[in-house]
Chain length 189, copies 2
Amino acid sequence: MALRHAVLAALLDGEYSGYQLAKAFDIGVANFWHALPQQLYAELAKLEKDGLVAGRQVVQETRPTKRLFHVTEAGRAELEAFAAAAAKPSFIRDDLLVKVQAADRVGTGPVIGQLEERATAADAKIELLGVLLRQLRGEADEEEFLLRGERIGPYLTCLRGLAFEREHRDWCRRIAAVLRERQKINAQG
Amino acid sequence: MALRHAVLAALLDGEYSGYQLAKAFDIGVANFWHALPQQLYAELAKLEKDGLVAGRQVVQETRPTKRLFHVTEAGRAELEAFAAAAAKPSFIRDDLLVKVQAADRVGTGPVIGQLEERATAADAKIELLGVLLRQLRGEADEEEFLLRGERIGPYLTCLRGLAFEREHRDWCRRIAAVLRERQKINAQG
DNA sequence: TACTGATACTCAAGAAAATGACTAGTCAGT
DNA sequence: ACTGACTAGTCATTTTCTTGAGTATCAGTA
């Protein structure tokens, strides 16, 4: 029971359809919780069955009918209990790091390429997060917003995401450079 | 097929028993791949069945008999192919971030406590990684080691882990401070 | 006019991971 | 003599995740 709370937390900011939720996960929530759309639909169904979210049908003229969900009182209570309980240790899984761990025992060429791709992707994500953060805080500067803003939760997690992406990008570029240098040295020696 | 390659990569540095592998995962590999001991035993059994690792029994006098595993040629080839294939996007999951996302909609008291615990745990991890890195690079300084060292894979992933833990610690402390400040302001207002 | 891409989902099969309990001997300290 | 921690695993069950496919409509583009 874990995705459950991530969905509830994401849904705190208003009504979302499963589809919209999947988008929100891609941008914001993905900074701390990865999930595929199918999982979200399944989880929403379970949450509704358990009365933690409620949905309402919205018929649209030009688009398929959708169902918008919001968190119920029971859902809020569930989140409250979750927040008070001990957190599990965080965890990461990253293929690319597995490859780097194996570096200098397997061919590094493709790994260097992947590190550079990742760095580029991180650049894009950093820009995206920058835009998102500016939107979230509106006119206020950050300090002011963090102290007086109404809804800072998503802002705080995006800040974490931004820091993560920056570190990740820098690491990828540095490691790619190191591996390239080593290739040169080995070619010479 | 994912844990599989993490195990192979971890096993590149010598022979390990399942138990030792579990330790190695806790310290180094956990920086990019989280797995429980039971999973490792199960994965080792599968890898052996598939001929990607081979084990040998070691009878000990004072300790239970153990089985030490090493990567076979087929295992190395498997890793090689893995390194060349496209990497999946990394993913993170963190309960604590879910709680922060929900912050200012649920009680923040316990969350502040957990942020501080995390920061303290991160401090310990940072120290541990510092020691590990010093061990790995021996006498050489970092630049020199990265360019000429024989085996830099684990060093590189530990560097990533270190950067991650630092960022995480700083973020936790900052967010804890922000949430505390907001509690004060709300108490006054 | 055909094609692409976005919206808005659903279903099912199979792989992978998490959980909890269990065995069994050693060693250090109270 | 007892306790708790460490070594070194195994087993079974359940939960969760991934993969891949399928449905349907509409808007914009070439």
